[in-house]
């Protein structure tokens, strides 16, 4: 039952939410300057490094925690090329371990910055070791609830019909008994025509035939069937072209669970269009290659990327004549008549990706999470408050100011967000 499952989902989400917050709280008091370090780490390091897993570069948690020579570390982080050029032993061994792919030079990081980063990494690694990470991000609790009349209503309706049917059967029986009683009282009851004679079988369909002769019953049955039929049609029509759960097979078994969930790669890293354009855009393969030039080069799925690009991992050369694009299957098919702009929602509205796309960080294969119906759009526009703070665009919006003064909710709908021409042109 979808209801129960969604309730369970909700509960599990809130548990995760609490867990997530607890985790955040934990890491919050690691070091005085770890907070600064975290920001720097995320800005500079995460495209190649993780704390616990080897990516383009080594897993930093253990390696930085075990390295005691902070001075050397600082040198390495600020300018590893210089260390390599100076034939530093440790530097060379790392350099050779990673196929002589040099790490970027971070000359802009001051000694203080680097020590902040180190502090953050060590603190974070400690907490990570103590407490295994919870799965997934705290997903946005706001979920979709819309999909025509709910199952409960339908099952209830069917139940009521069955119940009514039983009641009528019983009543019929009662009426028949009463009639018989009446007739027998008057002495009009005909003799039983069929007496049991030597075990001759009774016509088994007799009762059915008798029932069929009962016009009221037949009418009732037809009524029930047509009610059931039309409610089924109604529900089906409402869900025509609603493809919630659509999960086509994609040419590459790309897992969002791994990338967005476990690796915690920011959505924007691949879907940069969502922040600038109406299209979130499927990343071009050069984005994949930023990491997969080094990572998981042996995987047959990654080989598909190499094939598409005409890239030979051995020689590390591209051959554009062999290149052929990958044909992904589009999952979220908004009809052409509706204009949807990602940047409006993601940048201006600050809507989380998960609000519409669901717990994407747990999806091995992506499926359509939301119904993408107009009702669903409008519901959200009616409920979501506009985040006008800090955006000078809204400064002159007299209507908004009036509403705030009156203490009303400023929703997207109140700003004209459910007018036809905002999406249909």
């Amino acid at each position: 039952m979808r209801n129960i499952s969604s309730i369970i989902k909700q509960i599990s989400r809130s548990v995760l939410l609490v867990a997530g917050f607890a985790m955040l709280g934990f890491s919050g008091h690691a070091q005085g300057d770890a907070a600064k370090g975290e920001a720097l780490f995320k800005a500079n390091c995460t495209s190649c490094h993780k704390l616990d897993v080897k990516m383009t570069g080594p897993a930093l948690g253990p390696i930085i925690t075990s390295e005691t020579d902070d001075k050397w570390l600082t040198h390495w982080i600020q300018n590893n090329q210089a260390l390599i050029a100076a034939k530093d032993k440790k530097a060379l061994s790392i350099y050779n371990e990673y196929n002589q792919a040099g790490m970027s030079v971070f000359a802009s990081l001051s000694d203080g910055d680097v020590s902040n980063i180190i502090a953050y990494v060590r603190g974070e690694w400690k907490t990570m070791k103590e407490k295994p990470p919870g799965k997934g991000d705290p997903a946005n609790p706001q979920t979709s609830t819309e999909s025509g009349p709910s199952d409960l209503v339908i099952f209830g309706l069917i139940g009521v019909i069955i119940l009514a049917f039983i009641i009528i059967l019983v009543l019929n029986k009662v009426i028949a008994t009463l009639e018989r009683l009446l007739l027998s009282k008057k002495g009009l009851l005909p003799e039983e025509t069929e007496t049991i004679e030597g075990g001759v079988p009774v016509d088994k369909l007799a009762t059915v035939k008798k029932l069929l002769k009962n016009k009221k019953l037949v009418f009732f049955i037809i009524l029930c069937i047509s009610i059931a039929g039309s409610s089924w049609t109604w529900v089906t029509l409402w869900n025509t072209n609603v493809h919630t759960g659509y999960q086509p097979v994609q040419p590459i078994k790309y897992s969002h669970e791994l990338h967005a969930g476990t690796m915690k790669i920011d959505c924007q890293y691949c879907h940069s269009g969502a922040y600038k354009s109406k299209n979130a855009s499927i990343p071009s393969l050069n984005v994949c290659m930023n990491c997969h030039k080094m990572v998981k080069t042996e995987s047959p799925e990654i080989a598909k990327i190499y094939n598409a690009l005409g890239y030979d991992p051995k020689t590390q050369k591209y051959d554009s004549t062999k290149a052929k694009p990958i044909q992904w299957v589009r999952i979220h098919n908004l009809p052409d008549l509706a204009y949807f702009n990602h940047s409006q929602h993601v940048v201006v509205g600050k809507v989380k990706c998960q609000t519409c796309h669901g717990p994407i960080q747990t999806m091995k294969e992506v499926y359509q999470y939301s119904p993408l119906t107009m009702k669903w759009c409008i519901q959200c526009h009616k409920r979501t408050e506009v985040n006008y703070k800090g955006n000078a665009y809204y400064d002159n919006m007299i209507s908004v100011h009036d509403k705030i003064k009156r203490g009303e909710k400023v929703t997207a709908a109140a700003m004209g967000g459910i007018e036809c021409g905002k999406c249909h042109y």
Binding site: S277, L285, P325, W328, N396, M397, C420, Y425
Partner: protein, 1025 residues
């Protein structure tokens, strides 16, 4: 209303012909046969009910089946390696150049979809004309050449190169002539390539050949001042403009530029400072310029020269030998008035003539010299390079070639077999030329035509198809000192090669790549002129699109030649074209839409109504109603016009204002190998040209006969009728000076009753202001709107059925001149045969589009709420809700709603436009295409409004006035259309609407339209006839 002037769009409306009344009773021309079906025969038919039930059953079944469809699988194919500057879904703009105008090309995911003016453009400051707007569609023309061709079959570039090179080598050894014939080239790099080619093959000569040429002006300037140039005219500096048949707001030299200049002395800003230029036009047929003139006097072609002589006499106070009075009292009187006014405005006067006759232009030079125009309104030192055609040289080439003196000829953007007056001569000449190469981009000509290439290239050995300009590198130099750059915005779509590159290869140039050549050329000589250098300088040019060198001081030139011989030539010439007996004088003109016919395969242009006649998809014989009446022609009768054995049969159009005893026919039609869209549309009028006095002349004596056939013109003029309600307000400049409110009808107070509730528009109220005094009626906005909003082309047949889809139309109203009183007018009109006053009509152009009424009548009647009001003052149209009742169109007082009778983008009957995947690439992806059976209308470019707001939100700032420009406003060279938020009192539109001249069309209905019009002001004087 102060005036009770009557305005009408067509004579059928003026005369209220029964057919017109009948047609206008119905919103839609052809009623559906419902009544027929329900009454009588329909139900008597054998099985109407059964058929109906069958259809119903099938319909229900089909719908249910369709509903059972599985999810359609859409593929999503990302870039393999995404170019850094491309974000899917976000448009990029690149600078480029179209015919010397600096432009911006809007591209989406690497394909150009719209041309916009570059505000820094020297010529038209961001405005563009219809042709420039339409040029993007030509890129996606499926009938472009897909491969190089040799001897009528497809070939490869290697074969072509080796063939042409070996031929050229042999020809060079043989010593015979090589000719390169092109329409005017002003690109410095192309000219340099040609110069290099000539160095390699010294017996080569480059001939500039323009189908519609300005040789007369160029040679007159050579004769008068020793400068063989086309001057830079400055209409913005002229207070008095007198034009003899020069259609400078239409097709003459530089439309968008002259429109901008001209209107700068007539728009709101100028009027508010109590200044308005005066414009007197003498011409034969009604031109777009004539419709805008304050005074327009029809003269016959044979009278034009005499009129100019008389003007000279009146200004100079002398009398040229042979001078004679005009046989036309009105014109004679007007010449004297014009002379007086010109003299009074000395130094701020300008006289122009459209004639290509050298003698006429010399006389005009003399007049301008007397008026002190040189250095003021005419600039000979910063000359225009837009036209440099030399008619004589082409004629010489043809004669040479006919005698076998030419061994090789190259045609670059030139098509003399079509547009030379004696096509047979060209064909004969080409038959004797050994190597004929055309750079024409025409490929197949559609089904049923096996010939490849255009009229000329189909006779060539080699077709080396050129790139479209949006695929090319290059440059432009339309005016002295003004350099623009052409950069490609898409990879070549077909296997074409730029003509310049072909020439480089064939002439064994050291630089084989044209881009490198352009770079070198700019590094060497042009970048320095803009104070730039090197890679950085080049990148800056690519960003800005242009370099402007400071103007040289325009010198004053005085005319000192003897005019006696000139006057004699003019008089002889005039007598040569004066018709006698039952012959008529024929004027061949260039329509401001189709021009010389090079763009005939462009459906956007074919369907753009001619600004004056409102005829689409055809040319016609324009004739004065009274004259036609005398000859016994009705509108639509097919007339056979014959000159020197060449004849065309075209339908007759009654053109008020056409000179009596004359007919006019437009060139640019009747292409036979332009492509399936342009083939056999109208008839070719170029053969009516003649070569006299060393130049091509556009006038002739024609004999006419009725063919007895009829052909209905696809004319849009009366398609959207107001049932005679008054929608035009106008006044004169004198009245305006006394009372700026004059003519606006705003003096009276009315009590308003309303059926509707008020809407709140708390933040934005998008409105528009249209200045009728700035609108010249050119139609650029219509094409811009087509491109921006994916408006379909419907074709001639559908236009005849009144089903054109244009969201914005330009209504052209005639009215009888002011001095005719109401009574006189009525008396005259009652006498059906007396149409004398049709000679002097004045014209108003009114752009009409959805008015976005606050009390919109369409909204009230929509049964499904498909059209509703927004909180931003817009009237939305949700196509997917529309069920096609068409009630809204019936209830719209402005008649601006359009119904989709077909799936124009997916129906084989509309093959000439969007019905192929390739042309569909021109569609704007931010605007949905509409399905059969739904209404559509102007959305006020809501996609641009939404995009503008989003940009502001992302940048966390409030929306500024001018952030959003709608498509029609963006392209308007005269800024007649202003759009904005009227809630912001400082916005341009709020200020414009505060003007005393503002009025609203059909304001009395209290539908509260969102578009304010500003009264048309005419600079007419009381004395005029």
């Amino acid at each position: 209303m102060e005036s009770n002037k009557k305005y009408w769009k067509g004579l059928e409306e003026l005369n209220n012909s029964p057919e017109f009344v009948e047609k206008n009773k119905h919103e839609f021309a052809e009623p559906l046969p419902i009544e027929e079906l329900l009454s009588g025969s329909g139900l008597m038919a054998p099985t109407p009910r059964r058929n109906f039930l069958k259809a119903l059953g099938f319909g229900v079944g089909a719908v249910s089946l369709a509903a059972c469809n599985k999810v359609p699988v859409h593929k999503s194919i990302p870039y393999l390696i995404k170019p850094e500057e491309v974000t899917p879904g976000v448009a990029n703009y690149y600078t480029s150049s179209y015919e010397g105008h600096a432009i911006l090309v809007k591209t989406r995911e690497g394909r150009p979809i719209k041309i916009e003016g570059n505000p820094a453009d020297l010529l038209s400051k961001g405005g563009l004309n219809a042709q420039a707007q339409a040029s993007v569609l030509e890129l996606y023309d499926v009938n472009r050449a897909k491969n190089p061709m040799k001897d009528g079959g497809e070939s490869s570039w290697n074969d072509i190169d080796s063939f042409v090179k070996s031929e050229l080598a042999a020809i060079k050894a043989g010593g015979k002539k090589i000719r390169l014939i092109s329409s005017t080239i002003h690109s410095p790099s192309t000219l340099a390539v040609i110069a290099d080619f000539i160095k390699q093959y010294p017996n080569t000569k480059h001939i500039n050949y323009d189908a519609v040429s300005y040789t007369g002006i160029i040679q007159a300037n050579q004769n008068s001042f020793g400068k063989a140039v086309l001057p830079h005219y400055r209409f913005d500096r002229a207070d008095v403009i007198v034009s003899f048949g020069a259609d400078f707001l239409g097709s003459w030299i530089s439309q968008a530029e002259f429109m901008k200049q001209y209107v700068s002395n007539r728009n709101s800003k100028s009027l508010e400072s109590k200044k308005m230029s005066r414009h007197i036009q003498f011409e034969t047929g009604m031109s777009l310029t004539g419709t805008n003139a304050d005074v327009r006097i029809p003269v016959k072609p044979s009278e034009e020269g005499i009129a100019i002589i008389n003007l000279y006499n009146a200004i100079s106070g002398t009398t040229l030998p042979g001078s004679q009075k005009l046989n036309n009292a009105v014109a004679e009187k007007s010449i004297l008035i014009a002379a007086q006014e010109l003299k009074a405005a000395k130094g701020k006067a300008l006289v122009v003539a459209g004639s290509n006759d050298v003698a006429v232009q010399i006389l005009v030079n003399a007049i301008n010299s007397l008026l002190g125009s040189y250095g003021n309104t005419i600039d000979l030192d910063n000359a225009s390079n837009q036209y440099a055609g030399n008619d004589g040289e082409l004629v010489e080439f043809i004669n040479d070639a006919k005698q076998g003196g030419v061994d090789a000829v190259f045609f670059l953007n030139a098509n003399p077999v079509y547009d030379y007056y004696k096509a047979k001569d060209v064909k004969d000449a080409l038959a004797k030329v050994r190597l004929k190469v055309s750079f024409c981009d025409r490929g197949s000509n559609g089904e049923g035509v096996s010939t490849l290439g255009d009229e000329t290239s189909s006779l060539c050995n080699v077709i080396a198809p050129n790139h479209h300009y949006l695929e090319s590198w290059g440059d432009g130099n339309a005016l002295e000192g003004y350099y623009t750059v052409v950069q490609p915005t898409i990879n070549p779509v077909y296997n074409t090669r730029q003509a310049e590159q072909s020439l480089l290869i064939w002439s064994d140039n050291t630089v084989k790549d044209y881009y490198t050549y352009v770079r070198n050329n700019w590094d060497k000589s042009i970048l320095a002129k803009g104070g730039l250098s090197g890679q950085k300088g080049w990148e800056e040019v690519l960003q800005k699109g242009l370099i402007k060198v400071a103007d040289k001081t325009a010198g004053t030139y005085s005319f000192s030649k003897d005019l006696n011989a000139v006057a004699q030539t003019i008089l002889t010439h005039s007598s040569q074209v004066a018709a006698a007996g039952d012959k008529v004088e024929l004027q061949v003109y260039q329509s401001s839409v189709m021009r010389d016919g090079k763009k005939a395969n462009n459906p956007w242009l074919q369907e753009l109504p001619d600004p004056v006649s409102k005829v689409t998809w055809e040319n016609f014989v324009a004739i004065a109603p009274k004259f036609a009446d005398k000859l016994g022609y009705k509108e639509g009768d097919v007339m056979k016009v014959t000159v020197d054995g060449y004849s065309v049969s075209l339908p007759v159009l009654f053109q008020p204002g056409q000179a009596q005893g004359t007919i006019s026919i437009a060139v640019g039609y009747g292409r036979t190998l332009a492509g399936p869209v342009g083939n056999n549309v109208g008839q070719n009028a170029f053969p009516f040209y003649s070569f006299r006095n060393g130049t091509f002349q556009t006038t002739a004596i024609a004999s006419i006969t009725a063919t007895g056939e009829k052909s209905e013109l696809a004319q849009t003029q009366t398609h959207h009728s107001y049932e005679g309600r008054s929608v035009i307000r106008e006044t004169t400049f004198d009245k305006y000076k006394k009372d700026p409110k004059s003519g606006s009808g705003r003096n009276a107070e009315h009590k308003l009753y309303t059926l509707w509730d008020e809407y709140e528009r708390p933040q934005y109220n998008w409105v528009m202001a249209i200045d009728l005094n700035a609108c010249t009626g050119c139609g650029a906005c219509v094409v811009a709107c087509n491109a921006e909003n994916n408006v379909p082309v419907v074709g001639k047949d559908e236009v005849r059925r009144r089903r054109e889809m244009h969201w914005i139309r330009i209504d052209r109203y005639y009215s009888i001149n002011d001095n005719v009183t109401r009574e006189k007018e009525m008396n005259k009109l009652e006498k059906a045969d007396d149409m004398h006053n049709m000679d002097h009509v004045s014209v108003v152009h009114q752009p009409m589009l959805c008015q976005h009424c606050d009390h919109a009548p369409c909204e009230t009647v929509c049964p499904v709420l498909a059209t509703v009001h927004s909180s931003e003052g817009l009237n939305y149209m949700a196509y997917n809700r529309c069920i096609g009742t068409r009630y809204c169109a019936n209830n719209c007082p402005y008649k601006v709603r359009r119904f989709n009778w077909f799936n124009y983008w997916n129906d084989s009957r509309f093959d000439n436009y969007l019905n192929n995947e390739h042309t569909q690439l021109v569609l704007n992806p931010d605007v949905v295409t509409r399905f059969r059976g739904v209404m559509e209308k102007c959305s006020m470019c809501v996609q641009r409004i939404q995009a503008g707001k989003l940009q502001a939100k992302i940048e966390k700032r409030s929306l500024k006035d001018g952030d959003i420009k709608v498509a029609c406003q963006q392209t308007c060279p005269t800024n007649a259309i202003v759009f904005g938020n009227v809630n912001d009192p400082t916005s341009e539109v709020a200020i414009a609407l505060k003007s005393e001249r503002t009025y609203y069309v059909l304001e009395e209905l209290n539908v509260q339209p969102g578009i304010g019009y500003q009264v048309k002001v005419r600079n007419t004087k009381e004395i005029e006839a």
